[in-house]
């Protein structure tokens, strides 16, 4: 069903998962501590990181999120796997 994925796929995906976890954690924290400027700084730093990591991943492995750029002009990549439960 799914062709074997290169190690790089898993490595890059895990990096994104780690950074997005930090963002999720800071989001919930800031929801109840909205005036913590140190946490906001951290949030913005990791939000920028997440963007860069996703651009790198998507250029190589196709779109990770809806509304991302489709890299190929002749094939709609979003509909292609692997889906998260298939890897």
């Amino acid at each position: 069903m799914i062709k074997a994925l290169p190690n790089e796929y898993y490595q890059q995906l895990e990096e994104i998962q780690a950074v997005d976890f930090v963002l999720m954690e800071l989001t919930l924290y800031l929801d109840t501590h909205p005036a913590d400027s140190h946490a906001i700084q951290q949030y913005n730093h990791f939000a920028h990181n997440s963007l860069l990591l996703k651009q790198k991943f998507e250029a190589k492995f196709g779109p990770l999120q809806q509304r991302s750029i489709n890299q190929k002009n002749d094939f709609w990549m979003w509909k292609s796997g692997p889906w998260p439960w298939q890897i």
Binding site: L13, E14, I16, Q17, D20, F21, M24, E25, T27, L28, Y29, D31, T32, H33, P63, L64, Q65, Q66, R67, W83, P84, W85
Partner: protein
């Protein structure tokens, strides 16, 4: 609105085909204290909660859907190669005759999900106390599943989910304090 990301919140690895463990995990899929109940509870309560905590309910409710997807992935991976006989031996014979190996919103005993598991009282303190209790019950359920599980790879993901319940509970407790402060200030002035 919501938009989809083609990734799990945290990686899910399973060691072997293990339909018995999949059945236990259904408690967190379609059970009273499971992830579906959590997501639906918070995302419904948020319309009438004070503005100060709408963001928190929205964000935790959204994260619960990511947890639901992790649980679904676990159940899918643990059962996808199981034969009907293996499913039967695991106590999933009744599930098989109705659903084949499809997932369904049941608890571990096969009882289908019901909205009666959750509440929206319109009273912010009552709602948030229910949410704190829900997180503590979900945390306890994860602990019991970890204790009974024989899959070390899966336990790693389950420990992640257990920790999330602790964080959610903490944030909901802070939300209660924020609302109490507001209420007390109104009394003074």
């Amino acid at each position: 609105m919501w938009s989809y990301e083609k990734k799990l919140q945290y990686p899910v690895k399973v060691s072997t085909c293990n339909p018995t463990l999949a059945r236990y995990l259904m408690e967190q899929y379609g059970g009273a204290d499971g992830e579906l109940a959590a997501a639906l509870r918070y995302l419904n309560q948020r319309y009438t909660i004070p503005d100060k905590v709408i963001g928190l309910l929205t964000d935790i409710g959204t994260e619960e859907f990511a947890h639901l997807e992790m649980i679904a992935t676990m159940i899918y991976k643990l059962t996808k190669d199981a034969t009907p006989q293996q499913l039967r031996d695991a106590g999933l014979g009744d599930h098989y005759v109705s659903h084949d190996s499809a997932l369904f919103y049941n608890n571990a005993s096969g009882v289908p999900f019901t909205a009666a598991y959750i509440q929206a009282k319109g009273d912010p303190i009552a709602d948030l106390y229910e949410d704190i209790a829900a997180e503590e019950k979900a945390r306890a359920t994860y602990q019991w599943i970890i204790d009974i599980s024989d899959d070390p790879d899966l336990n790693d993901s389950l420990r992640f989910l257990r920790e999330r319940e602790i964080v959610h509970s903490q944030r909901f407790r802070e939300a209660v304090e924020m609302l109490k402060e507001d209420r007390d200030q109104k009394k003074v002035f």
